[in-house]
Symmetry: C2
Subunit: 280 residues, 2 copies
Amino acid sequence: MNIVISGLGIIGGSYARAIKKYTDHYVIGINRSPEPLREALECGAIDEIGDTGSLEKADMLILGTFPEAAVSFVRDNASLIPHSCIVTDTSGIKSVIFPELSELSEKYGFPFVGCHPMAGKEKNGFGASEADLFKGASCILVPCERDDEEYKNAVQTVARLAKSIGFAKNVYTTPQEHDRMIAFTSQLPHALACAYVQSPVCKKHDGFSAGSYRDISRVANINARLWTELFLENSSPLTEELDILISGLSEIRDAIKENDSEKLRSYLEKSRQIKEELGE
Amino acid sequence: MNIVISGLGIIGGSYARAIKKYTDHYVIGINRSPEPLREALECGAIDEIGDTGSLEKADMLILGTFPEAAVSFVRDNASLIPHSCIVTDTSGIKSVIFPELSELSEKYGFPFVGCHPMAGKEKNGFGASEADLFKGASCILVPCERDDEEYKNAVQTVARLAKSIGFAKNVYTTPQEHDRMIAFTSQLPHALACAYVQSPVCKKHDGFSAGSYRDISRVANINARLWTELFLENSSPLTEELDILISGLSEIRDAIKENDSEKLRSYLEKSRQIKEELGE
């Protein structure tokens, strides 16, 4: 396939590197600023620096940019995307981008398959990309509500590509279920890491901390612009999760204030059991 | 030295293993139940199974048990502890145990040096102990308010032992400062991991999660009895930290509910800056 990747940040860049490392597909990079393109070409992560004109020969278009930019890119270039080109994204939220992208897909004839690679790190940009970033990770696939053969084949193609570049498994879900789960598994940890490090004693932690400080605070090294967008675009599930967490923390605080050893122990024991049932 | 270790759980057991691996000291183990003692003797983590009678030949007594049990052990056996025997503990909180242990130390003549090894994992018992558990970790030393030469030597001896068994550094502090910092660096992450996993969607996370779920939830696999004791014995600093965290999370939630992109972005950016200033 000719694969066009729009946006060579950590995720788009890692797709490029992984595709070149593990498959024979031809990769064309598009990016707003020229530096990542030059860098990617030099290290062999892409075969060619492209532009929107490259879309006419694309068999697949991977949207590696932030959600809003991904939607704009497709909106602005929809007429250039061939009917046979599979469009897939990498956005951390789905409910907001899905209506417009699936509408554009219907209108212009190309299949759209939502995709969220569950991998990343607390760094950004092409410099942070890795061919093996997806090794062992889960790839969440969010198909449109279509069951014609052509569309099923498109979904299969995206799923096969994921497996071939290192993902351990493909998980299928709806935009709503995706966003509900992501609010909990990814957005909530980012929100609480950010709240955590704002304790006035945080700056003095060195010498008094170990693994639990490191693990909780890691993702506070956040891309504020990206995560502001992600949080606001997933407002309802995320505020629900925040309310649940705040209420749980308040329950712990109250049990401590009331010196209620039995209530506290049984709360903690319930958490331990949940982890045990999950085999973690 | 003859070193008596009371309590061969993960921490006491790791002390025993590390001392035998890295030093020439003679190690005597005391434990309520016999299994860990047999196991420790078999694998060479201790030289001898002892009892309270062994204290008369001890040059150092390491209290590896939970805080309350550590205080009881010293209270019950204070008259058996020689004046020349350095008593040190491994408790995760200090303000509560310090008054009684320093009083017993004064009354019976043995030096007491508070100690908190900043290492551990989400498993318990001698089976989880490791000779290299302390490698690279910080050892927090909490000395009494004494500045006579004999006492200074005792503190030096505890500090040297820590360095010789793998700790990267020794940090000196007061019981109050210790407990304030630990509320933030260790207790708060445990509390929020426990609250986090109680979200109703947690049990379905598999396939939708990656590093941030794993890191935040890791310590929810908690020893409920131990941490109930630790939380309640550090009530005031911990509830203060919980209040700060709850208020930070509420600020994030409100910014999202009000769709206030500027407020949210600047909150997250502040967190990023804190991590950056810490070089993390």
